[in-house]
């Protein structure tokens, strides 16, 4: 029975993606574009050659981490909308360490990565503390902290890290995750070693949640706070811990962008959307580390491949956005698809 159940769980996302592709194809047909050419260029844009594969991996890396950040908090019943802000402070902290400290690589790089995670963790600690101690809803606090992170970071870049400029210097090579070897392998893409950190983080989350007492308590608090309290668990501590670890994952995502992809931090005119996409990635991945990895891959592929559609198939950029959004919509509304599938199945029973 459970085997069937698992199969069903895998089937739903696949059907969703196919449905999204079909609706996208219909829209393209109506507007006079060839869906086959368009989807071929989507594929080529993501997997066409070594360069695009490298860029796709680069794009997937932070999405895995922000997906984990949302999924982890969700395990304890918390909605971490603040992944966005945690990414930004993590990025800032990592680049700051990369710029100002002078040390050999074996110290410098881990320090920069860890500082990114700590900055994100602090940004997660604040809403966790407020939630645990005085019951302020974490959604509101994290949304507001996103703006605080965005604008304070811009101010720090302008006033502290540079002299009224919009982009910092490049971090010193001892703190860089970028690798010439990976770059030469992938034709100068910006792929970097961060993907290993992201995959490792997914393993860490799996281990924490499934194999440790801490994880058991976090989950218990997520299922039922009152029962957990009655069972003698410290609910406040678990809420804070959950947000701190979640923030740490998101901070790592920021460090990946700062130390791997860009090597700098620039004044941002809006959110990076990494954190917001992380919500979708987590929901799509059913808050399961392995699921998050697959969901992040799907998101990364769609986003990276979409860039090829206007030049490769003449599909206007706006239409590309609609098609990608449709695919994500169908995937995210997998609940509806489950329901439909079950309806179908029930009728078959009669």
């Amino acid at each position: 029975m459970t085997e069937n159940n698992k199969l069903f769980g895998i089937l739903v996302p696949i059907v969703s993606v196919i449905l999204g592709l079909i609706v996208g194809a219909i829209i393209m047909l109506f507007s006079g574009h060839n869906p086959i050419i368009a989807y071929t260029s989507l594929w080529n844009g993501a997997f066409g050659d070594a360069f695009t594969i490298g860029e796709t991996v680069r794009r997937i890396t932070p999405l895995i981490l922000t997906g984990l950040a949302v999924a982890f908090a969700f395990k304890s019943g918390l909605f971490n909308i603040g992944a966005e802000g945690q990414v930004i402070v993590g990025w800032l902290a990592a680049v700051w360490v990369g710029l100002t400290i002078d040390a050999p690589m074996i110290i410098h790089l881990p320090l920069a990565v860890i500082m990114g995670a700590i900055a994100g963790a602090i940004w997660g600690f604040i809403p966790g503390l407020l939630k645990a101690k005085i019951g302020v809803h974490e959604v509101i606090v994290t949304i507001m902290l996103n703006y605080i992170a965005l604008f304070s970071t811009n101010a720090v870049i302008r006033g502290v890290l540079t002299d009224q400029s919009t982009t910092t210097e490049r971090i010193s090579p001892t703190a860089s995750l970028a690798s010439e070897w990976l770059q030469s392998l992938t034709f100068f893409s910006r792929m970097h070693y961060g993907i290993l950190i992201a995959l490792f983080a997914a393993v860490v989350m799996w281990f924490l949640i499934e194999r440790t007492t801490i994880g058991y308590e976090l989950k218990a608090v997520g299922f039922n706070q009152h029962a957990s309290k009655y069972a003698g668990m410290n609910v406040s501590k678990n809420i804070i811990l959950s947000m701190v670890i979640a923030g740490g994952f998101a901070g790592l995502a920021g460090a990946m962008e700062g130390l791997g992809t860009y090597g700098t931090i620039s004044v941002m005119s809006g959110f990076t959307n990494l954190g917001f996409d992380g919500i979708a990635v987590a929901l799509l991945g059913a808050n399961n580390p392995l699921g998050v990895i697959f969901a992040a891959v799907l998101f990364g592929v769609l986003k990276e491949g979409a860039g090829e559609m206007p030049t490769g198939a003449g599909v206007p950029t706006e239409l590309v956005d609609i098609i990608i959004a449709l695919i994500i919509f169908f995937v995210a509304s997998s609940y509806l698809i489950r329901w439909l599938l079950l309806r179908f199945k029930k009728e078959g029973d009669k």
Binding site: I22, D277, G307, G314, R338
Partner: protein, 402 residues
């Protein structure tokens, strides 16, 4: 694709209840699902697959013409023709400003040489910063001979790509790039901004002007500095409110800044903010619609933004600081096509080079008088009598010396 849009309102409860139901659903799933039911599911999948195949099949025949079009690229290469393309910044190709102007230049060049979009000329639009490198690389691999990066935001990425692909020529608009195969295109925006500052100072009745900038950066500070210097040269008592939207694509923010400025007595706003400026125009038009007697103006940037200001019989666009990105793009493309690409050089387009001008399309608002004044100051800039400031420090010194 932005999830920020769902963050508003009290929808979280809805979402949470959906999640609750999903969890309950999972428990319900523990009920048996028989193999028979699964055959049905697979049948459904198969149908979907066939549907997809059908869609594709029909399209294939239909689109043989399309393929001819895409094949055109190769034909161009074979003919040894020259091709050029550009990467927009996040304002997008229809920003009614800077990117659009560049694309107009490229299209005009294409028309002269019998080329059209996707066939000799093309653009790649960037939706965020992460898109710059893939977009530039994509165009390199599509074998365009000359690739423009539009906007200073592309500086680092274009520099990297130019170093990697030495056989392709690049051009960066609005900032400098240091490579033998790349040319930097700069404009003397401070000169044009000075002149529209003069026009604004003559037009204002409240003696309060506004400046809306995109991102606070050395480039936009040039606009700000020129504008202040121009206005204060006419009347040192004029007050100028400075606001930055921190974005070149946020029309909503532009609108709210404009609303606040007009409410506080400002009657002329100069925007140097790309797509954000569309919000400034909208706000001015809204006010004008509700109160046709109120005299408020917007000064456009980069292109002649006369169209943007039209409301009924009236037009709120006083003038525009026209930066001829289109001319620069056409010039550089022609240089490159004729094998005279000025690689490694920095080209500066100012009043002398006809790269900067002040629009006089709105003859009702830009009266003869104002135009005369502007021309007098223009003469002073041309013959070097005035050195227009480019940074905040220089502006301070300039204003103090008045």
């Amino acid at each position: 694709m932005e999830f920020s849009s769902i963050l508003g309102g009290g929808r979280w409860r809805g979402i949470q209840s959906v999640i609750y139901h999903i969890i309950r659903w999972n428990r319900l799933q523990k009920e048996a699902i028989t193999l028979k039911k699964f055959t049905l599911l697979f049948a459904l999948l198969l149908t979907l697959g066939m549907l997809l195949a059908a869609c594709g099949g029909g399209a294939d025949e239909e689109d043989t013409t399309n393929e001819d079009n895409t094949g055109g690229d190769d034909a161009t290469e074979e003919a040894g023709d020259f091709s050029a393309a550009m990467v927009t910044d996040i304002g997008g190709v229809d920003d009614k400003s800077f990117n659009q102007s560049a694309w107009e230049g490229l299209t005009a060049w294409g028309e002269e040489n019998g080329l059209s979009k996707g066939n000799g000329i093309d653009y790649a639009q960037s939706n965020d910063k992460a898109d710059y490198v893939p977009n530039l690389t994509r165009l390199v691999r599509d074998e365009y001979d000359l690739i423009f990066g539009i906007g200073f935001e592309l500086k680092e990425d274009l520099q990297t790509i130019a170093d990697q692909y030495e056989d392709t020529n690049f051009a960066l608009v609005d900032d400098t790039v240091d490579a033998p195969n790349a040319v930097s295109i700069l404009f003397k925006e401070h000169q044009g901004s000075f002149l529209v500052g003069v026009a604004a100072a003559h037009k204002t009745k409240t003696n309060k002007l506004g400046f809306v900038g995109g991102v606070d950066s050395p480039l936009i500070n040039k606009f700000e500095s020129g504008f202040i210097a121009g206005a204060k040269s006419v009347n040192p008592d004029i007050e100028i409110e400075i606001e930055y939207a921190e974005s070149f694509g946020d029309a909503a923010k532009g609108k709210s800044i404009a609303s606040y400025m007009y409410d506080s007595g400002v009657d002329v706003i100069y925007h140097a903010s790309g797509g954000t400026g569309n919000g400034v125009f909208n706000q001015a038009k809204d006010i004008k619609q509700n109160d046709p007697d109120r005299e408020i103006w917007v000064i456009g940037v980069d292109r002649d933004q006369h169209e943007e200001g039209a409301i009924g019989d009236h037009n709120v666009t006083l003038t525009s600081m026209v930066k001829r990105v289109d001319i620069a793009v056409q010039d550089v493309t022609n240089f490159a096509m004729n094998g005279e690409f000025p690689g490694g050089e920095t080209l500066e387009f100012g009043l002398e080079e006809d790269g900067i001008s002040v629009a006089t399309t709105n003859s009702e608002a830009m009266t003869e008088e104002i135009i005369n004044e502007v021309q007098q100051w223009e003469e002073k800039i041309r013959n070097g009598e005035i050195d227009v400031p480019q940074t905040r420090e220089e502006t301070e010194a300039f204003v103090d010396a008045l």
